[in-house]
């Protein structure tokens, strides 16, 4: 029997059509198996019965027709499902990569001017008559400034000041900011790599 199957060659268009249906049949079998595995348990059936939501004969008939329709679609249109699967996978990966990107408030359109870090430091000291601010660049925010400077290791890195007016759209999710935002950004080839916010709400 195996020999006869192996020796078989498609001749008519029906033979070719049957070969075309084979992957769809495989996919349908896979989906049906999954549906069977996820069928409601006896406990769930009992609960549904208790709530008066027992599956009627009409419901079963409807379900059967839906399955028939779905299987027909998969059998005939399986290349479409395969394309959708790979497209969905690609979109998912792109989305994952986007999620992994850092979420900066600053965007290229908010950059004001390239600055020298030394000049930025000189103008950053905070005057407080009660003496509650350390005599460091940017006062209590000094750690953020130090972190920004520490990351500026590449010669192509530039430091830019930025200003986002109240109501501007910020971040990956384009939320509206409720106050003016000022700060400094590490920029390379026009791309923002890090930011240090010096004032916001």
């Amino acid at each position: 029997m195996i020999e006869s199957v192996l020796a078989w060659r498609p001749v008519t268009w029906v033979d070719y059509f049957l070969i075309y249906l084979l992957p769809g049949a495989g996919m349908s079998a896979y989906f049906l198996l999954n549906a069977w595995k996820e069928r409601p348990t006896e406990f769930v059936k009992g609960m549904m019965k208790l709530f008066g939501k027992e599956t009627s004969l009409i419901d079963r008939l409807k379900e059967f027709l839906v399955y028939c329709f779905a299987i027909s679609c998969v059998l005939v249109g399986w290349p479409g499902f395969v394309i959708y699967y790979f497209k969905h996978k690609k979109d998912e990966e792109a989305n994952k990569a986007w999620q992994a990107l850092p979420d900066f408030d600053c965007a290229p359109e908010y950059l004001v001017a390239q600055v020298n870090p030394v000049d930025a430091e000189i103008t950053s000291y905070v005057i407080d008559p009660l003496g509650t601010v350390p005599p460091l660049p940017f006062g209590h925010l000094n750690q953020g400034w130090v972190n920004l400077l520490a990351d500026m290791t590449d010669e192509a890195d530039e430091m830019w000041s930025f200003y986002i007016p109240k109501g501007g759209k910020v971040g990956k999710y384009q939320r509206m900011c409720r106050s003016d935002i000022r700060g400094y950004a590490r920029v390379r080839d026009g791309k923002i790599l890090a930011e240090f916010i010096t004032e916001c709400d």
């Binding site: 905070v126 407080d128 008559p129 009660l130 509650t132 601010v133 006062g139 209590h140 925010l141 750690q143 953020g144 409720r178 106050s179 003016d180 935002i181 000022r182 240090f196 916010i197 010096t198 004032e199 916001c200 709400d201």
Partner: protein, 155 residues
């Protein structure tokens, strides 16, 4: 989400609730994070702020802090800012919102509840520029017809 416990502001000798978190930029810059002790305090701390006047200029200071390092361990202001008994919030630019009066509409999330008045104070780099009060009205109760048809209750 749950309605969040407010910050506190000492203003005119009175302690009033403050629906703004001026400390958040400092915590972001310093990489400091606290542990939430319960769902009404996701940020993990409650700060007490005061507006202190010097030579005609009013500034915003953090004067007390109760921050959860862990569920049991609570840090004070001097733990987070060693050597300081108060801290000038020089990074704060924006508006402080202090709810006043009767609660008109409770919203079970963040600082979204509406009170009779909001005392609003504008700051620039920690310095008070202006303040004013805003009178609020209770939001109109939504009726069935205000919802899209697919969200309406069945008759």
């Amino acid at each position: 989400m749950t309605a969040q416990v407010s910050e506190r502001l000492i203003y005119g000798g009175k302690e009033i609730p403050l629906f703004t978190n001026p400390l958040s930029l400092y915590l972001k810059n310093s990489g400091t994070r606290f542990v939430s002790p319960h769902t009404a305090n996701w940020r993990g701390y409650v700060g007490t702020w005061e507006i202190l006047e010097h030579a005609g200029v009013e500034r915003l200071y953090l004067v007390a802090l109760s921050a959860h390092k862990s569920y049991e361990e609570i840090l004070g202001l001097s733990d987070v800012f060693p050597g300081h008994d108060k801290v000038f919030a020089h990074w704060f630019t924006g508006e402080l919102r202090c709810p006043q009066g009767a609660l008109l509409n409770y919203v079970h999330g963040g600082y979204a509840s509406t009170y009779e008045y909001d005392l609003l104070m504008d700051f620039k780099q920690g310095v008070l520029l202006s303040n004013h009060a805003r009178h609020n009205e209770a939001p109109k109760k939504k009726e069935e017809k205000d919802y899209p048809s697919f969200l309406r209750r069945g008759s």
